[in-house]
Symmetry: C2
Subunit: 140 residues, 2 copies
């Protein structure tokens, strides 16, 4: 079975998705990432999707699930390298990737994760996706 | 056509090979890498092959060719993540990957490239392949 490698670089884990994310591959990647987060104690996960021409709803949900699992394990997920056409498709599909931050490339993703580490108290303008809608709070 | 993404991280370019290296993919990767080395001015290339179960002679020659092109462009290549079975196969095939350094994982590869940068005067036991042999200069 094909397997997406998880690369550790400093305080982050890097995943470059290049192959078709079939069910087993996606599940295996989730497992591998969770195990590596626990084993290494990193606080950031970067998922590079620059090789993907198409991100369908399954891949979108897989990325969202990885982000949720990572958050439970105290690691933040940043998706990098998204192509413009992929972004348009995701929005059309109604997949806004809740809880997933994005950056244009790996270096900006690393910078984003680094910034989160240092200014975590000030930069807390992002709502948790546990049902508390800030817009609703705002107008109530 | 499938394409292997080239990721820039600091002073290195990282390539994670996960897909079958057919002719066009291999040529495209060589071109992409050469262009990115020139565009970014990096001095190190890391090729991760931890996803590969098998490295045949074509892939072996492709990696050697990438290393040669990189060296001409003043960038050193380190292959990381080689599985034990792949190492055995490579030696059996007579492919010793001349001019290619190896490390067990990405972090050790980055460390290897960093060490080369900082101690280049002391650690120059490897002759440059442009005809100017530092040992010859030393003894003249």
């Amino acid at each position: 079975m094909e397997r997406v490698p998880v690369l550790k670089i400093g305080d982050i884990l890097l995943v470059s998705i290049q192959i078709d994310m079939e069910d087993q591959v996606a599940l295996q990647l989730q497992e591998d990432l969770a195990e590596r987060i626990v084993a290494t104690g990193v606080h950031g996960v970067i998922i590079d999707i620059s090789a993907l021409d198409i991100v369908d709803s399954f891949v979108g949900r897989t990325i969202a699930a990885i982000a949720s699992v990572s958050r439970v394990l105290d690691a933040e997920t940043v998706v990098v390298g998204m192509r413009p056409a992929v972004a348009i498709t995701l929005v059309e599909l109604g997949l806004s990737l809740p809880g997933v931050r994005t950056a244009l490339n790996v270096e900006l993703g690393i910078a984003l994760l680094g910034r989160r580490e240092t200014v975590t108290i000030d930069g807390d303008d992002e709502p948790a996706d546990d049902g508390s809608d800030p817009a609703a709070v705002h107008t109530s």
